[in-house]
């Protein structure tokens, strides 16, 4: 079928193919003639790639050149529609593309060379796979006639990335190039989004070929289901209407489904009056300041969220996947509830937790249908039951699980984040926050406030230290006038510290807010609680001077050691026009609470010493 379409397109080239040729500006003098030729035939593979990128809406690509991608870099040099951002390590190119994708809702794009370029990209690809981020990564490859000969900078890229991509391609013939790229973008963003790799041998980049537009490409072989079965939706809404102790449990799927999904979720939640808890990836889909938001759930989630999950009678999971960090001990996970699971990926349903009702659907479609049914049938939540349920939730809330011991002399990490949030609240610009991975990430999820989707970038599934800075760079590229803050830890930031150079080169005023406790905090916390305080290799000795480091790269650095000084420095940070590091020297002993220890259930949380104990007699 694809072959037929292509032949047809070649035989009768449509004029609309012409309209978005990238060469139009460069080749101004002979534009009309050149364009016609350019669009149909006599393009090199590299030119086809550029045209395909433009037609797929790409305006920014993150990459690092090398021998096997030089023809593409040459083509990039001769056009103006696509901005190339030179990173300092290929892993960062992928994370930046993720940050770009997550903050715009578009497909992120990366370009790396063969061999080490491709292998360096693997962590970023895996990160995108686990967090379902649409990314297309182009990798160079040795010429087709050298594949398999252990040529210089050769790696079996499609073999290596097969398990860490949603789909990957090796294009061995230029005639398949355009349609492969179009399918790659389609696959990356359709259904459950994910990363796609296109491996491009160097001779294919040079080879002359013709271009086919996305409109003339047959994409029928990948058409995942997005519409829910309406009878199932009716069943789900009936279950919700009869619930006495309901809870919404929402995840990254709502974010991936677009801003409309978040709006509909807010409408549904407010319409029903049910409480909602969100996963780490789902933060921002519903405003966290609202009373109906119980905060994040899971291992470091709030007391009220986890107890509500444990005690609920109807659980409505929208776009979350019962991750092990969320469920705790499986056989004690929400033992008395009927569970509804809405997910676009059929393999997510019944994967870990058996549910009463599984609905395969895009969140936005399911939410729209649920609202329609709820309205049409004039459902109302059981008022008495809801009153009791909220009274119960308020009792859990009164534990104040996030409270911590304040100090006048030492900066508590939680306090630092509260002050950061206070400053962000006053900020007029659009605010985006990314994080690295560890204690600081959990504190950021607990203490920052999330008002809208696509403004929170964090590595959830893979837990990739070093994610935050490159992701922030990707966000800042997409939103040049926004304020982008990377909440970091002293260990994580060093994993991709070289990207300071990228930020300086491209004039990206990313703010790096390091909660520096001189430990790999989360590792230390586990060693303290579970391994007899034997701190094996978790103390970060010989940390650099982050202020001087920022300076050395051409950025700005501040250090804060006293709580009184915090507000002033945060204010300074907001004003800088360059990449800025704030090295916040925080309490080294502070641990992240509350916490569900592994193998424990939601109702067996450990609270910090400062939280009030819950009086079980109140239940």
């Amino acid at each position: 079928m694809a072959t037929q379409t292509r032949t047809k397109a070649q035989a009768k080239p449509k004029i609309k193919l012409v309209k978005s040729a990238p060469a139009s500006k460069v080749q101004k003098a002979s534009a009309p003639i050149r364009q016609m030729v350019y669009d149909k035939k006599n393009l090199t593979g590299a030119e086809i790639i550029i045209q395909a990128l433009v037609d797929n809406g790409v305006d920014t690509i993150f990459g690092y050149p090398g021998g096997a991608v030089l023809p593409i870099y040459d083509a990039l040099f001769q056009q103006k529609k696509i901005k190339h951002v030179l990173v300092r390590h290929e892993q960062a190119a992928l994370h930046a593309a993720e940050g770009y994708a997550r903050s715009t809702g578009k497909v992120g794009c990366a370009l790396v060379t063969s061999g080490p370029g491709a292998t360096n990209a693997v962590t970023g690809l895996t990160d995108a796979l686990l967090d379902s981020i649409p990314v297309v990564c182009f990798s160079g490859q040795v010429p087709t006639f050298l594949i398999g000969t252990d040529a210089f900078q050769e790696a079996d890229t499609t073999g290596i990335t097969r398990q860490c991509t949603k789909q990957n391609y090796l294009v061995k013939d230029v005639k398949n190039l355009a349609k492969t790229i179009h399918e790659a973008f389609h696959v990356a963003k359709s259904g459950r989004p994910g990363p796609v790799v296109i491996d491009l041998p160097k001779d294919v980049q040079f080879a002359p070929g013709s271009y086919i537009s996305p409109e003339n490409t047959d994409l029928s072989r990948y058409q995942p289901r997005t519409q829910p079965d309406l009878s199932q939706i009716e069943l789900a809404v009936e279950m919700m209407a009869s619930a006495k102790r309901p809870v919404f449990y929402t995840g990254g799927g709502v974010i991936n489904s677009g801003t409309e999904a978040a709006r509909l979720l807010t409408e549904l939640v407010q319409m029903t009056g049910f409480p909602l808890t969100s996963t780490l990836m789902g933060l921002g889909a519903y405003p966290t300041r609202d009373r109906q938001h119980l905060g994040m759930l899971g291992m470091h989630g709030t007391y009220e969220a986890n107890w509500a999950m444990h005690d609920c009678d109807v659980m409505v999971n929208i776009g979350a996947r019962f991750d092990d960090r969320v469920t705790g001990r499986l056989d004690a996970f929400s033992p008395h509830s009927k569970k509804i699971h809405i997910d676009i990926d059929p393999s997510s349903i019944n994967k870990i937790v058996r549910v009463e009702l599984g609905i395969v659907s895009d969140s936005v479609e399911a939410l729209r249908a649920m609202i329609a049914v709820w309205k049409k049938r004039k459902y109302k939540a059981d008022a008495t039951a809801m009153k009791q349920w909220w009274a119960q939730i308020d009792k859990w809330r009164s534990v104040q699980c996030l409270s911590y011991k304040k100090s006048d002399t030492i900066i508590k990490p939680q306090f630092a984040l509260e002050r950061l949030q206070a400053a962000l609240d006053k900020e007029k610009r659009e605010v985006f926050v990314s994080t690295e991975v560890g204690q600081h990430q959990m504190w950021a999820a607990q203490f920052l406030k999330f008002e809208q989707p696509n403004h929170w970038m964090t590595s959830g599934g893979l837990g990739t230290m070093g994610y935050g800075l490159p992701a922030a760079i990707g966000v800042q590229m997409a939103h040049p006038n926004a304020l982008v803050v990377d909440v970091a830890g002293d260990a994580s930031i060093l994993m991709n510290i070289q990207e300071l150079s990228t930020a300086v080169q491209h004039k990206l005023p990313v703010k790096i807010f390091i909660l520096n406790n001189q430990w790999m905090g989360m590792v230390k916390q586990w060693q303290e609680l579970l391994h007899g305080e034997r701190y094996s290799s978790s103390y970060t000795e010989s940390l650099p001077d982050f202020v001087k480091l920022a300076d050395a790269y051409g950025g700005i650095g501040f250090r804060v050691e006293s709580p009184d000084d915090l507000d002033r420095v945060i204010k300074e940070m907001m004003k800088t026009d360059r990449v800025t590091i704030v090295d916040v020297c925080v309490d080294q002993k502070e641990n992240c609470f509350p916490m569900i220890p592994s193998g424990k259930a939601h109702n067996e949380m450990i609270l910090s010493a400062d939280a009030k104990k819950f009086d079980k007699t109140l239940v």
Binding site: L170, R221, D331, S347, I349, G599
Partner: protein, 189 residues
């Protein structure tokens, strides 16, 4: 249902669940016959820790360039359901059918057996081959090659009988399967 040992308590992950009973299922998978598709299917099994008992693949539709992969795999009902969905998620996969669950089906396997022997053993081998309706497809004075078709159990039984009679080499195809009746497993997700 969950085992709790000292080690589990220290783990960042919970305890391993106790397994449900394991059964064997036959899946028919229609895929685009493109490079890497088999690696993708097999990689899914190895990557997620599923067991493959047998795998047969060949192009079945030359115009559409589609192949049919027949997989016999074992696992709990839960695992088999996961395998089904995970396979369905792959881009080049058009259709997955669990033949074991979807009514009755026929399974056949072909095997070539080389049996070397002389005198009585040679005669006995030929007699048993006749009983099993195996064909002799090659013969020398000291050897036979038998071709046998049938269910996995029948082939197993034949192989067992040939062992004492000088069986020295086997080549088996793995299972090919098709459902009974008018229902078909075809293209279209």
């Amino acid at each position: 249902m969950v085992r709790q040992s000292q080690q589990d308590k220290k783990s960042v992950y919970g305890a391993a669940p106790v397994q449900d009973p394991v059964s064997s299922h036959t899946l028919a998978v229609i895929v685009d016959n493109e490079p890497g598709v088999l690696a993708r299917v097999i990689g899914l099994f190895s990557g997620r820790g599923y067991n493959i008992e047998s795998l047969t693949v060949a192009e079945t539709d030359q115009t559409k360039k589609q192949s049919r992969i027949t997989i016999v795999c074992s696992g709990t009902v839960h695992v088999i359901e996961q395998i089904h969905h995970q396979l369905g998620r792959l881009v080049p996969v058009h259709r997955v059918s669990n033949l074991t669950l979807e009514g009755t089906h026929i399974e056949r396997e072909l095997a070539l057996l080389k049996v070397c022997g002389v005198k009585d053993k040679r005669i006995e081998a030929l007699r048993i081959a006749d009983i099993f309706r195996a064909r002799v497809v090659d013969s020398t004075l000291g050897s036979f090659v038998f071709e046998i078709t049938g269910t996995t159990e029948k082939v197993d039984a034949f192989v067992d009988l040939m062992k004492p009679l000088g069986l020295c080499e086997i080549s088996r195809t793995g299972v090919a399967a098709i459902s009974r009746g008018k229902e078909i497993v075809c293209d279209g997700k």
